[in-house]
């Protein structure tokens, strides 16, 4: 009996120890690759000199394993995407030119991740300015790093985190000359100057995503992928700052955010569907369960009704009093 209890207790303690360790583990098959590709240097036999030489690793080939295992492909083997010939060391130099897979190569028609609507994402991307200007050069990985990508818009319960993650994808090129020059000969855009017209620029940069204004909003798609030419980006404040705010069909539609607001239990809207009426609070209780405020969009019908009633009674009182004054003159 005592040994059974001890076994159960051990199992209980062990379960806590195993779970976090597992989530931080790189697949066993990747260990050999990781050994070099997490180091700052590597050793190679130089056939010309006949000596073993230690050289610095190209920083772009050093993998952050913590971010990798946390990413959507963290459980993958390296050769799931890279050529199996990489198992030979030293690697064949020509392998660097191997075409890497895009999202749609694996996820096209993928029923397992049907809710991600990869094919629709592809359709939208095909219309985007990135595609128009850069053609096949512009692949999914330019924004979505396959090694580290996490679907933050689906999983995060923080608007700020979703915004930061999304904007960093844009800024990784548009505010980084090293990557920007891979696809453009132009000078790096001066983001702050270009957006000078935007009131409270820093607040906008921190609280909304670039794609809010720079894409055609598709409320039935988790994230709009049709990036517009800069001339077509919206500059109309009331598209967001109104009761019919566009943000309801973009940033504030996610059910994960809604779950946090505590309303999801009473609602059957599935992930990715529109969370319409984010800014319309039906009861006082809901006021205190919502974390977003957008000027012109955040309205409380109950408070508005009270305001109208007070205003009407005040005006009625003034008019009545004035009539009596006139009659008794």
């Amino acid at each position: 009996m005592l040994s059974s209890i001890r076994a159960i207790l051990l199992l209980f303690v062990f379960s806590f120890l195993v779970v976090p360790v597992k989530s931080q583990m790189v697949a066993e098959e990747n260990k050999l690759c990781i050994e070099c590709h997490t180091s700052q240097s590597f050793t190679i036999h130089n056939d010309w000199t006949g000596m073993d030489e230690t050289r610095l690793m190209n920083p772009f080939y050093i993998l952050d394993t913590v971010r990798f295992v946390d990413g959507v492909h963290g459980a993958f083997q390296c050769i799931d995407c890279h050529s199996y010939e990489y198992e030979t060391y030293p690697h064949n130099g020509e392998l660097k030119l191997e075409p890497l897979m895009t999202c749609i190569d694996c996820h096209g028609g993928d029923d397992t991740y049907a809710s991600y609507q990869f094919d629709r994402v592809e359709e939208e991307f095909e219309k985007s300015i990135h595609r128009e200007l850069l053609g096949d050069q512009f692949t999914c990985s330019k924004c979505h790093d396959q090694h580290y990508y996490t679907p933050t818009a689906r999983t995060s319960s923080s608007v700020k985190e979703i915004v930061e993650y999304s904007n960093n994808m844009c800024l990784s090129c548009h505010d980084n000359m090293i990557k920007y020059q891979l696809v453009s000969d132009k000078e790096k855009p001066q983001l702050v100057q270009i957006h000078d017209w935007l009131p409270n620029q820093e607040l906008h940069f921190n609280r909304v995503r670039c794609i809010e204004c720079h894409t055609v909003v598709q409320d039935s798609l988790m994230v709009s992928h049709n990036i517009l030419p800069k001339e077509k980006a919206t500059k109309n404040c009331v598209e967001c700052h109104s009761s019919n705010s566009m943000l309801q069909a973009s940033l504030y539609k996610y059910q994960n955010l809604r779950l946090r607001s505590g309303n999801a239990e009473n609602d059957s809207v599935s992930s990715g569907e529109v969370y319409s009426g984010s800014f319309q609070f039906l009861s006082m209780n809901n006021i205190f369960s919502n974390q977003y405020y957008v000027i012109g969009a955040s309205r409380i019908p109950l408070l508005n009704t009270i305001f109208v009633l007070i205003f009407v009674f005040t005006v009625a009182g003034i008019v009545t009093h004035a009539i009596f004054r006139f009659l008794k003159k």
Partner: protein, 203 residues
Amino acid sequence: MSAEGKLYLYPLWLRIWHGMNALCIIILIVTGLSMHYSTSILFKFESAVAVHNISGVVLTIFYVLFLAGNLVTENGKFYQIKTKGLKNRMQQQIKYYVSGMFKGETSPYPVTATRKFNPLQKYSYIGVMYIFVPLVIITGFALLFPETIIEDVYQVSGVMLTAIFHSIVGFFIMIFLFVHLYVASIGKSPVSNYKSMVTGWHS
């Protein structure tokens, strides 16, 4: 100071403050409504934001002038609270406005050199100028620099709570303005009080 039964009650600094305060508050109401309802009531949304911010800052500067003026001049004494018999005085004034004035009764608290406001005026002005306006200024500046506002208050956006509070206080200032403008028409003639605020002389 008096001339031909007139009292010089409103010195120049007070009239300048009053005029600027009125102008700023009217602009703030109009632009505030434009932003809240995203409608173009005289101003487009984007202009409304800029004009609202500028007017708020100007209002604050003149509010400081008002406070300073009340500290260094005699005007401050008109805002001193006297709780003794307050309820009775208020009731008398309300009774006059509701029925007495229609029966031809005289005002229970007529304007004199030492009593510029009747009890209702005095305490509504104290409420607006020493409670509502400071609150709307503080919340307004907090919204102008939203990074100074607590991010979450029990999982509710601090900015949202501040904005709601700002709107409520702003709304009551608007209601005050309507009532104030109407009550100002109750004088020797319907326009005499408005003229007083331009000339400084109460008749």
